[in-house]
């Protein structure tokens, strides 16, 4: 016997007999009795206005930091060795290329 044919026949049998969709008479009332014991549904969107309130102070702080950074770089003499210090720090962990060659 061909198993594929049998599977197809069985699936056709399942399609030919969709399940009933009736509900028991008092089912909705029973669910409502359960629902009334539940806490009210939460609205997740409630936190979004709070985030919007926080947006203005964050923007102000960002502007202050930007202005402070711009003024500091204008009035203070930049360290001429800063690039060298940065490079030494970054490459400190690497072996000396001169030694390799």
């Amino acid at each position: 016997m061909n198993a594929d044919q049998l599977v197809n026949a069985l699936l056709a049998a399942a399609r030919a007999h969709p399940p009933r969709d009736e509900a028991p008479d008092d089912f909705a009332r029973r669910i409502m009795a359960r629902v009334s014991q539940q806490p009210p549904p939460r609205i997740p969107r409630a936190w979004s206005p709070t985030l919007w309130h926080a947006a203005a102070p964050c923007l102000g702080l960002m502007l202050l930091v930007s202005v402070w950074s711009a003024l500091a770089s204008y009035y203070l003499d930049p360290d001429p060795l800063l690039d060298d210090h940065l490079e030494n720090t970054v490459f400190a962990a690497l072996p000396n290329p001169g030694e390799e060659w």
Binding site: M1, A3, D4, L6, V7, A9, L10, L11, A12, A13, A14, R15, A16, H17, P18, P19, R20, D21, E22, A23, P24, F27, A28, R29, R30, I31, M32, R34, V35, S36, Q38, P40, P41, R42, I43, P44, R45
Partner: protein, 190 residues
């Protein structure tokens, strides 16, 4: 604003009784879905109850971008999937011999030129037995794709799986079902 959205807004504003109208409207679809996966009426009612309580608790997360029906069906399918997984964990799979009706239907299928009627109890018992044997993802995908006739894309939306995953699971599910049927045929000596 469609009628469902009005009812949902009323529930969210504290008018719990509006939820009963949603239950009345959608319970036939939920019962039909639950009866595909649950084995008896007690399980069916427990499953539908779980779907509706979850729907109530999560009503606030309904955004209204898609119809409420789609949102509810997605929740219902995922609840059915959780139910199948829980049943599998508890190893509640019945392993009994084939009934007389099943043997008779198989015998008629194997030895007669005219295929037996799909409406016969033997066919229904056999398909139920085969589906009960499948693991939850296979059971769900066979139910949605082969029996309910939904598209792969629709199943992906309902289950939250990707389209390729649905295709792979559908392929494996059918293969598992065929293997199980072959084993049944061997043991029933047809």
């Amino acid at each position: 604003m469609d009628p469902d959205s009005k009812l949902i807004a009323a529930v969210l504003q504290g008018d719990i009784d509006s939820f009963e109208s949603l239950i009345q409207k959608y319970q036939p679809r939920l019962f039909a879905m639950a009866r595909r996966y649950a084995r008896n009426e007690t399980e069916v009612q427990d499953l539908v109850q779980e779907m509706l309580i979850k729907a109530y608790q999560r009503l606030g997360s309904f955004r209204g971008r898609a119809p409420f029906e789609h949102w509810l069906m997605r929740l219902a399918v995922r609840t059915c999937y959780d139910f199948l997984r829980a049943r599998r964990r508890n190893r509640e799979t019945a392993c009994t011999d084939l009934s007389d009706e099943e043997n008779q239907w198989l015998d008629q299928f194997a030895h007669h030129a005219a295929p037996p009627a799909e409406s016969e109890p033997g066919a229904r018992e056999l398909i139920q037995r085969s589906l009960d044997h499948l693991p939850p993802p296979a059971r769900l995908v066979i139910g949605l794709l082969e029996i309910e006739g939904r598209s792969v894309k629709e199943i992906a939306q309902l289950t939250g799986w990707s389209v390729p995953l649905v295709k792979v699971r559908a392929f494996r599910a059918r293969r598992m079902m065929r293997k199980y049927i072959e084993r049944l045929l061997r043991t029933s000596s047809l």
